[in-house]
């Protein structure tokens, strides 16, 4: 529990966090905010692409749901399917990008063990796409 705050961190000025030893709670709060921002930005982009793809498909009268394989994404000729496919790809990438932001923050804070664990999870996600 040494990394959690104790009364000593707030009672005396000498124990108050300094720029050289930043408050762990403040550090973690910043990591959380950055990870949340990464998740929201990528997810918003993905949803915008999906919405644009849905509207485009409906506008041109394409209302039939058909399967789309990841490998065929590049060969899509109609804009609706392409936008929908790219949106799904961005959606699938959102958690991975959120993880990478967390990894960068943890590496900066010297927490290599958990950064490595997080990288291992991203590697497994990429491996899943190859297995499929």
């Amino acid at each position: 529990m040494s990394d959690l705050p104790t009364t000593g961190t707030t009672v005396t000025a000498a124990d108050r966090p300094s720029p050289a030893s930043p408050d762990p709670l403040a550090q973690e709060a910043r990591t959380n905010r950055l990870t949340a921002a990464a998740l929201l930005v990528v997810t918003t982009l993905a949803l915008a692409l999906i919405l644009a793809g849905l509207v485009t498909s409906l506008a041109v009268g394409d209302r039939t749901a058909r399967p789309l394989a990841l490998a065929d994404l590049g060969s899509q000729h109609d804009a609706g399917s392409l936008l929908l496919g790219l949106g799904l790809l961005a959606l699938a990438a959102a958690p991975g990008l959120g993880i990478l932001v967390t990894v960068a923050r943890w590496l900066r804070a010297g927490d290599r063990r958990h950064a490595l664990l997080a990288v291992l999870v991203v590697t497994l996600l990429l491996g899943g796409a190859l297995l499929g």
Partner: protein, 299 residues
């Protein structure tokens, strides 16, 4: 037979997604407990396609809901990654084996997993909530409120602070039995990959009952984890050509809206209310699939 999106179908799918997103954000489940039954039972979509749609919805639900929880400090990221390694392996395995399991068997597993989830939630109510609380004498009461947080994780991956629900003072906790959590997470990952249900139904009770993590931290951590687990399985289905983007779109858009609303409501609703919503949803979907698996109703 390919599904055609009429205006009414589109509206129903968006509203269903919003309901699933709201319930998912409140309970830490991904919303798959709602999406899969509606698509399979209501619209005759193939089980694998419904699972793929549900997994996309789970990713969107998790990302939107997690952002709010992360800002409040409720998500224990280190604990999540400790458990997520086995969960991701389980998710990939689950999505690969589903092609070889007959549909009635999948439906039966789905139904039984929902009953298990409801039972685990019921048992959770009978346990003391602070069984693993550490001595809090050294923790300043305003440790969390100074940073605008409701919780904060420790760097060792098992400890943390959480704001007391009654007076908001910071209380320390330590998760126990990490191996039990990892094992349960692997099973949750496999079921997620097979059934498209996020796996939060098992992760939340595993973390609270099994590991002694406070319920709000467990819910937020599960919400973060289910998105990662769903990606592990979704990419397998996407690569295999099972995903129907036009079917995914309205549900994902609806579920994101519902999730954002649900995560905002989370701090205002009691744990009992959240658990009641959760139990009702999983029992209803579980019953429908068990009846379908035994041929009592035709799906």
């Amino acid at each position: 037979m390919p599904m055609t999106l009429t205006f009414s179908t589109l509206l129903v799918l968006i509203l269903m997604g919003a309901a699933a997103g709201g319930v998912g954000a409140l309970t830490g489940i991904g919303g798959g407990a709602v999406v899969v039954p509606v698509l399979v039972l209501g619209y005759g979509v193939s089980f694998r396609s419904a699972v793929a749609v549900s997994l996309a919805a789970v990713i969107a639900n998790s990302a939107a809901g997690s952002a709010a929880y992360l800002r409040q400090g409720l998500t224990h990221k280190r604990l999540a990654f400790n458990l997520e390694v086995t969960t991701t392996i389980g998710g990939i395995l689950g999505s690969l084996v589903t092609a070889f399991i007959p549909r009635p068997a999948l439906e039966g597993i789905f139904g039984l997993s929902q009953f298990l989830s409801a039972e685990l939630t019921r048992r959770r109510k009978r346990l003391p909530s602070a069984a693993n609380a550490l001595a809090t004498a050294e923790i300043p009461p305003d440790a969390l409120s100074r940073h605008g947080l409701r919780a904060c994780e420790g760097r060792d991956g098992l400890t943390g602070l959480v704001a007391d629900e009654t007076d908001g003072t910071a209380r320390a906790y330590r998760a126990r039995r990490p191996l039990l959590g990892a094992g349960a997470s692997m099973v949750a990952g496999m079921l997620s990959g097979m059934l498209g249900i996020g796996g939060g139904f098992l992760k939340v009770p595993a973390m609270t009952v099994g590991m002694g993590v406070p319920v709000r931290v467990a819910t937020a951590t599960s919400q973060f984890m289910i998105g990662i687990t769903a990606v592990a399985s979704f990419v397998v289905y996407f690569a295999a050509g099972v995903v129907q983007p036009l079917l995914v779109a309205p549900i994902v858009l609806g579920i994101t809206t519902g999730s954002l609303l649900g995560s905002r409501l989370s701090g205002r609703l009691s744990v009992g209310t959240i658990e009641a919503v959760y139990s009702s949803v999983v029992l209803a979907s579980g019953l429908s699939f068990v009846l379908g698996a035994f041929g009592v109703i035709h799906v």
